[in-house]
Amino acid sequence: MPAPIDESQVRHIAHLARIKLTDAEVAAFGAQFANILKHFETLSEVNTDGVEPTAHPLPITNVLRDDEPVEPIGVEAALANAPARETPYFKVPKVLDQETA
């Protein structure tokens, strides 16, 4: 059995995804995470000794394109779906450089 998911782990995952959760959601997702992990626990029972890890389910490699430019869609189209804009920029709440990766 996988280790149970505690609240702090749910909150950590939510923080990484920048999602705010209510206490009720934390409890609900915690239970769902546990179910997902249980499913993988079942998968891990399969003996995979000597089996190459799968990088991609399709037996295809080297899908490459030539380095030829195509006309971009333009600023107006790029910003069309943005919740907020300051043309030609997207506008978002203030973020600090210190948070960059």
């Binding site: 990088a55 790029a78 920029y89 506008k91 203030k94 990766a101």
Partner: protein
């Protein structure tokens, strides 16, 4: 107390492709914000990235030049983090199967020798966009840069001090420009550096290691050197004040660089470090590299700059200063290398490259090869100076004309009246005139004072050159002057 710095570098090099890594948006510096975007690099749902072949080949070339093992099978992974400049909320990168691993790169030492620095890996990834918030209460996002192909090169912590890190960065810039895989222009942010620095301190037989500092996003060679020197000093002082200031107790830390203060600034410690949750990107199929591709790209890489420099020094007797000019770029070094086969006198050709051609190139803000003077003309100019057809000083005028409108060096010299006079009767007239006009020099030449009699012929020769407006063949002039002095002595 003994102090040994431990320094590794992470370097991002922007590849000089025309388009982005996974979409066909053109790459263009300083274009109107968000005007070089499409649904793929905007991170729209339902879009499919397709790998740029040229970016892949450039990264393989870099890997070969860095002496690394090229992965015959590699794949793409998603590195997840949430930040507005990365609209997909993940960056496509290579996690466990980088395109290149286990390399070694030779860097020059001040004494003329070289030293290898180990390369852990070099992998491809896409760049993020830009967040701008200076003086604003919100953030503006420009995604033109999002999806730009980057090669991330990670060295082993082999680098011994700030100066060595500096020369590594300089040599790497020369390499990627040489290979034509990156412009590596610092002002455009096409090369960015992140040194990892800590210090092994041995005190009373015990070794302490200070916490590793990663200094983020340096964009000049100068700041790399300063930041590393600053960190070494800061860490040693911090350890002296508190012997618990160790890697084991404090872990790894991130620092920024304040260029105005010339100081690093703490950003975050390890407890806040990111959890990137890498996993294979299902949208992109793996990449394999076959023998033929590897052989073709290896041939294009060819001789590396440092090896060519060594050969030029050994074979052509170049100095370090000559090398700076002639090996400044690949095309110029190849122009020289091809021309030398037809010009017997390497010293003369080197002199013309460093003196004449470099002078003309600098004036035109070009490289020597970029002047567009064909190899045949470069050879011809060296030949007509070598055989005395024109003087070394006249060569500059001919070279200038070759740059401006091309043509034959000999014809240019003829029409400009630069052909050296070797007709003895014409020369004799100039010499006679020089002797008539300079009786004191003639007297000196004939005197018993060895100092004077030695200096006078050279002076007379200078006068002949003046009278002939540089047309007199200097060697022949010298001989004829000696002859005349001798005849006067009798």
């Amino acid at each position: 107390m003994q102090i040994k710095p431990i320094i590794g570098l992470e370097i991002h090099v922007q590849l000089a492709t025309r388009t982005k890594m996974f979409c066909a948006c053109p790459l263009e510096f300083a274009a109107e914000p968000n005007s070089r975007t499409c649904p793929v690099c905007l991170g729209m749902p339902g879009t499919l990235p397709v790998m740029n072949r040229t970016a892949l080949e450039y990264s393989i070339k870099a890997g070969i030049a860095l002496g690394g093992r090229i992965a015959r099978f590699s794949k793409w992974d998603r590195k997840s983090y949430y930040y507005p400049d990365m609209p997909k909320n993940y960056q496509i990168s290579q996690y466990d199967l980088p395109i290149c691993s286990e390399g070694s790169f030779e860097i020059p030492k001040p004494d003329g020798s070289t030293r290898p620095v180990g390369i852990i890996r070099a992998h491809l990834e896409e760049d993020a966009g830009k967040n701008l918030h200076e003086g604003l209460d919100h953030t503006r996002v420009d995604l033109n840069r999002a999806g730009t192909p980057l090669l991330e090169i990670v060295t082993k912590p082999d680098i011994q001090d700030a100066d060595e890190a500096y020369s590594f960065c300089v040599e790497l810039q020369r390499l990627v420009q040489w290979l034509g895989i990156s412009e590596a222009n610092m002002q455009k942010g096409q090369m960015r550096f992140e040194p990892n620095v800590n210090v092994a301190i041995t005190d009373g037989g015990v070794e302490y290691r200070t916490p590793i500092s990663e200094v983020k996003n340096l964009n000049s060679f100068r700041s790399v050197r300063l930041a590393i020197a600053y960190e070494i000093n800061r860490q040693v002082e911090a350890w002296k004040a508190d012997h618990d200031y160790t890697l084991a107790k404090k872990g790894k830390m991130n620092f920024g660089w304040n260029d105005a203060k010339e100081a690093t600034e703490f950003q975050r410690g390890k407890e806040e470090s990111h959890d990137y949750r890498y996993f294979p990107d299902p949208d992109l199929v793996p990449v394999t590299v076959d023998d033929a591709t590897l052989a073709r790209l290896g041939a294009e890489v060819g001789e590396l700059p440092l090896a060519r420099q060594r050969r030029f020094i050994d074979t052509y007797g170049m100095t370090a200063k000559d090398c700076e000019v002639i090996l400044a770029d690949r095309a110029t070094s190849e122009l020289y290398d091809d021309a030398i086969a037809q010009v017997a006198d390497a010293k003369l050709l080197t002199k013309q490259f460093v003196g004449i051609w470099n002078h003309l190139a600098s004036a035109r803000q070009s490289t020597i090869a970029g002047l567009g003077v064909p190899q045949v003309s470069v050879v011809e100019l060296a030949k007509i100076v070598a055989d005395g057809t024109i003087s070394a000083s006249a060569a500059m005028q001919v070279a200038e004309k070759l740059c401006e409108k091309g043509g034959s060096a000999l014809e240019i010299a003829q029409s400009a009246g630069l052909i050296q006079e070797r007709d003895e009767s014409a020369m004799q007239a100039w010499i006679d005139q020089a002797f008539t006009e300079n009786p004191q020099a003639v007297a000196d030449a004939l005197s018993d004072n060895p100092k004077k009699s030695k200096a006078a012929p050279g002076f007379l020769r200078g006068q002949v050159m003046k009278i002939s407006q540089g047309k007199a063949d200097p060697k022949l002039t010298g001989e004829l002057i000696e002859k005349k002095i001798l005849s006067l002595k009798c």
